[in-house]
């Protein structure tokens, strides 16, 4: 087992290197760089750009150096925690992202937990009472949740919150706490604001998970070993928990790999609509303005989360399922 984990962690290194090369290439693909789009923007607004200053900046950040050198400089920096400099914000990337990263992770984490808490009982109910009114009703609600885009739901909720409660539900905290250092009141304010984005971002994921859990569980309940367990005299509820649910968990765990990045990257538009202080809007803006170090760091962050998620799910699967642990790779 330890050998396997070590091996899996080692494999992550070339994977991440490959991704970083890809990310860097993509960042370099569009013509021009941050300074050129800056000049274009300034000219469009009728201002004069100081070419000398821009050239000086270019030299300072190494934009006149060859591609390969810049790549290694970037990767090497990331290894020691230097993610580069955001030209747009005139700050190191770490400072720009700062708090936002923790807020994003909190929103994502709470969303995942809420998704599970809602999806699990509904999925189990639907699978054990298939084709009943309850199943159809929940399926209907779930499909609506799946079909409505998140930002649309956000707009609708904002509108009704304004009409019914007369409050704005934008932001992750009260306006007075924006930009303030962390305090107890700020935490309370964040918790008060959290539920709206969590619900909105979590809807589609919840609906999707209910459907998959229902399908998997219904497949498992058809299996012969369930009949065997019934013939042993096991009570229905206990049987469900011990056998089919246990096996239906496999898909659930392999989901972790994709759930981490999906929730962080999938919430950008909702975050913009709700003016959330998460990383999503930052990434979009960085991509628009070719702020390459900021955007590149984000993409690397997402890639890292994906790789970590897959690692976690692989290890958890191997621990949970003896077939993978003991007979992995054995051909028939």
């Amino acid at each position: 087992m330890i050998r396997y984990i070590l091996w899996r962690v080692l494999v992550m290194i070339p994977t991440l290197l490959l991704i970083s090369a890809l990310v860097f290439t993509i960042m370099e693909l569009p013509p021009g760089d941050f300074f050129e789009s800056q000049i274009a923007e300034m000219r469009a607004m009728g201002e004069n750009a100081d070419m000398a200053e821009i050239e000086a900046l270019r030299a300072r950040y190494g934009f006149d150096k060859p591609l390969v050198e810049r790549y290694f400089h970037w990767v090497g920096g990331m290894l020691v925690g230097d993610f580069g400099y955001s030209f747009e914000y005139q700050l190191p990337v770490t400072d720009v992202v700062g708090d936002r990263l923790w807020l994003t992770m909190m929103v994502s984490f709470v969303t995942i937990i809420v998704t599970w808490i809602i999806a699990f009982p509904i999925g189990i109910y639907s699978a054990t009472h298939p084709y009943s009114w309850g199943d159809y009703g929940l399926t209907f609600v779930g499909l609506i949740g799946l079909a409505i885009p998140n930002f649309m739901l956000a707009l609708v909720l904002m509108y009704f919150a304004n009409i019914w409660f007369g409050t704005s539900i934008g932001h992750l905290m009260g306006r007075e706490y924006l930009g303030q250092p962390m305090s107890w009141d700020k935490v309370k304010s964040i918790l008060e604001h959290l539920w709206i984005p969590v619900l909105i971002i979590g809807t589609a994921g919840t609906a999707g998970m209910v459907r998959r859990l229902r399908a998997n569980l219904m497949d498992e309940m058809e299996k012969q070993y369930v009949v065997t367990a019934r013939a042993k005299g096991l009570a229905p509820g206990k049987l469900l928990r011990k056998y089919p649910l246990r096996l239906a968990l496999n898909f659930f765990i392999s989901d972790i790999g994709s759930i981490l990045p999906a929730i962080i990257s999938g919430a950008e538009i909702t975050a913009i609509v709700l003016s959330l202080e998460t990383t999503g809007p930052l990434l979009i803006r960085a991509l628009q303005s070719q702020d390459m170090y900021l955007a590149g760091s984000f993409l690397m962050f997402l890639a890292f989360l994906t790789v970590i998620g897959v690692l976690i799910s692989d290890i958890a699967l191997a621990m949970l399922d003896p077939r993978i642990r003991l007979a992995g790779g054995r051909t028939k």
Partner: protein
């Protein structure tokens, strides 16, 4: 009132299932009894409702089923019987009977265990539910039961996972699980159908031993009359949900009254058939292969030994990863086929017999060029000259594909579900650019008549046919290109006996009419005995014995062949299985003449009889 104590009495049981636009009556007014300490066999073909009865007793039938009647269970003679059907579904009372007073084992040992829990956990569970015992007591009891079920090292097996055991071992563990609470009744639903014949004999022996030792009753649900004759005290015959006949095994086998039962017995191939005697299927099919005649008449045999296919020194290894620890483990090569040589003569039927894992299917696949061997040579004798099958390319390979065809085991998955029978039958002709569209249609018509279906059936899809009909369609497809050699890989294993008789007779007729040559791969010795002229027995990738059919069946020389023949249950009370000599099929019990890795070679005993034995063993010693 009967004076005899009846353990279980089923009265007027009817079970029906809703089906699109109506109901299916799976069981109709069935009456049967089970006496304590006796084995009652419930016999019938698939779809006769026998499994449904077994499950309804425990109340684990499908929730969609509608059940009426009475199932009276009298666990003890001094207590009034309890109607199991009157108990609330999945309620406390019926649950306290399940697994405790009535145990059940199933056909599929592979899927009947949860793959993610240990064997011990799953056996132990029955005790946890029904008995008040400490964990240590439970473990002790479970291990004792595993030991009784024939495990040499129950302590180790307790902590193993089901996928680490072979099919036969899993069925033993299944039996241990069903019996750990010492029930008074065991329902065994086709307990040996999925197992090899030698393993089947061992499991039957185990069931009988335990049944006597624990004094329990067994309801044996099976389709195999041979199994019934060897184990049952009483027999109940079921046909389309109705009980046709019931009585003691003696009565049923010696004086069958109902024509169905007599028909069923006539449909089973057995070893005492007179030469040329035909099986009598319950429903004869009228075939018309005249349309195919002449077209593929056997090519003029080249002078000489009349061999169609000469196979020499075939070897094939598959690389497997040994499960030594976690993901790390040495790669090991498994020799699926090991130095196999044989000839198939033109117009004959060569049987290839062996248990699962013996490499017989791999040999079949190599012959049709679906698997490439590591070593060896296959030469096909053609009027134009010999053709190296394994090296054939281009036009030669195209020709080979038309001359060698395969009939598969599973009639369900071997036909594409979204092609009509017409498409299925004309596709090979299209691939090989045979004739015009009209010619192909006419050919499809001739093919479908040759297998006893009508031309109207051409527009239907495979799912609307029964298993036997589908297998016949598979045969028709194989015949479409006018092959010379047909490789039949377990062609009738998935079929009921009466349907099997139809298909076997069809194959025999086609061989006679069209001059076909068969490589007939099967695990069923009786079927091979019926179909084949010569038989090769495979074990562990090698052919251990090859001989003309009568010689092999009457005077087998190799101990493996003898064990295989001894393990076949006959549907005949006068030829009971010799349980004493079962369980000795392992290589360890073979005489010194047949063991030793290096010096084994095929020794000719004359008359085409060859046996794998030590190079320097003398012939009289072998015959002993």
């Amino acid at each position: 009132m009967t004076a005899e104590h009846e353990l279980l009495r089923i009265r007027d049981l009817s079970v029906s299932f809703p089906l699109l636009g109506g109901r299916v009556n799976a069981v109709r007014n069935a009456d049967l009894r089970i006496l304590p300490g006796k084995v009652t066999a419930l016999v019938g073909e698939s779809g006769s409702g026998k499994s449904v009865i077994g499950r309804t007793i425990l109340g684990i039938q499908s929730p969609a089923a509608t059940v009426s009647g009475q199932i009276l269970f009298a666990d003890r003679a001094d207590q009034p019987p309890c109607d199991l059907l009157a108990l609330p579904r999945d309620g406390r009372q019926i649950r306290s009977i399940r697994g405790n007073r009535i145990g059940m084992i199933f056909q599929e040992p592979m899927t009947s265990f949860s793959p993610v829990h240990t064997i011990g956990n799953q056996i132990d569970e029955a005790l946890r539910i029904h008995k008040v015992m400490s964990p240590a007591e439970r473990r002790e009891r479970s291990e004792a039961m595993l030991a009784m079920s024939g495990f040499a090292d129950p302590r180790k097996v307790f902590d193993m996972y089901p996928f680490e055991l072979s099919g036969g071992m899993r069925q033993r563990a299944m039996i241990a699980m069903a019996l750990v609470c010492e029930p008074s009744l065991l329902i065994a639903d086709e307990p040996t159908t999925a197992l090899d014949v030698t393993v089947q004999a061992q499991i039957l022996q185990l069931l009988r031993d335990l049944q006597e030792r624990l004094g329990m009753a067994v309801l044996l649900v099976t389709h195999d009359l041979g199994v019934v004759a060897n184990t049952a005290d009483e027999v109940v015959v079921l046909y389309q949900g109705q009980v046709l006949e019931s009585g003691s095994t003696d009565d049923i086998f010696r004086r069958p009254e109902h024509p169905y039962l007599r028909g069923l017995m006539g449909a089973v191939p057995h070893f005492d058939m007179a030469p040329g005697e035909r099986l009598k299927p319950l429903r004869e099919i009228a075939t018309d292969s005249a349309g195919l005649l002449g077209r593929s008449a056997p090519a003029a045999a080249p002078a000489g030994d009349n061999v169609l296919l000469r196979v020499r020194g075939l070897s094939k290894s598959f690389v497997i990863r040994k499960s030594a620890g976690f993901f790390g483990g040495a790669r090991a090569a498994h020799r699926a086929v090991d130095d196999v040589s044989f000839d198939i003569r033109r117009g004959e039927s060569l049987g290839l017999v062996g248990e699962s894992g013996s490499g017989k299917t791999t040999v079949g696949k190599i012959v049709v060029r679906a698997v490439t061997p590591d070593k060896g040579q296959i030469v096909m004798q053609r009027p134009e000259g010999p053709l190296d099958v394994l090296a054939a390319r281009g036009a030669d390979l195209t020709m080979l594909r038309q001359k060698v065809q395969m009939v598969f085991q599973d009639p369900v998955s071997s036909l594409s579900p979204h092609m009509t029978v017409r498409n299925i039958l004309t596709e090979p002709l299209e691939i090989h650019l045979r004739g015009s569209a009209a010619d192909r249609q006419a050919m499809a018509g001739r093919l479908i008549r040759a297998i006893g279906l009508s031309e109207d059936d051409l527009n239907r899809y495979p799912h609307s046919f029964s298993g036997g009909q589908r297998q016949r369609i598979g045969i028709a497809r194989a015949l479409a290109l006018g092959p010379e050699l047909l490789v039949c890989d377990e062609a009738t294993s998935a079929l009921d006996v009466s349907v099997q008789a139809q298909v076997l007779n069809l194959l025999k007729d086609l061989q006679k009419d069209l001059g076909l040559t068969y490589l007939f791969i099967s695990h069923n010795l009786a079927v091979v005995n019926y179909m084949c002229d010569r038989v090769a027995v495979m074990q562990g990738g090698r052919i251990v014995e090859i001989a003309p059919r009568e010689v092999l069946m009457r005077a087998p020389v190799h101990p493996y062949t003898r064990a295989l023949l001894a393990a076949v249950p006959y549907p005949d009370l006068d030829r009971p299985l010799d349980f004493a000599c079962i369980g000795q099929s392992g290589t360890t019990t073979w005489g010194p003449a047949f063991t030793g890795d290096a010096g084994l070679t095929a020794i000719d005993l004359g008359n085409g009889h060859q046996v794998l034995a030590n190079r320097n063993a003398d012939i009289s010693e072998l015959r002993a």
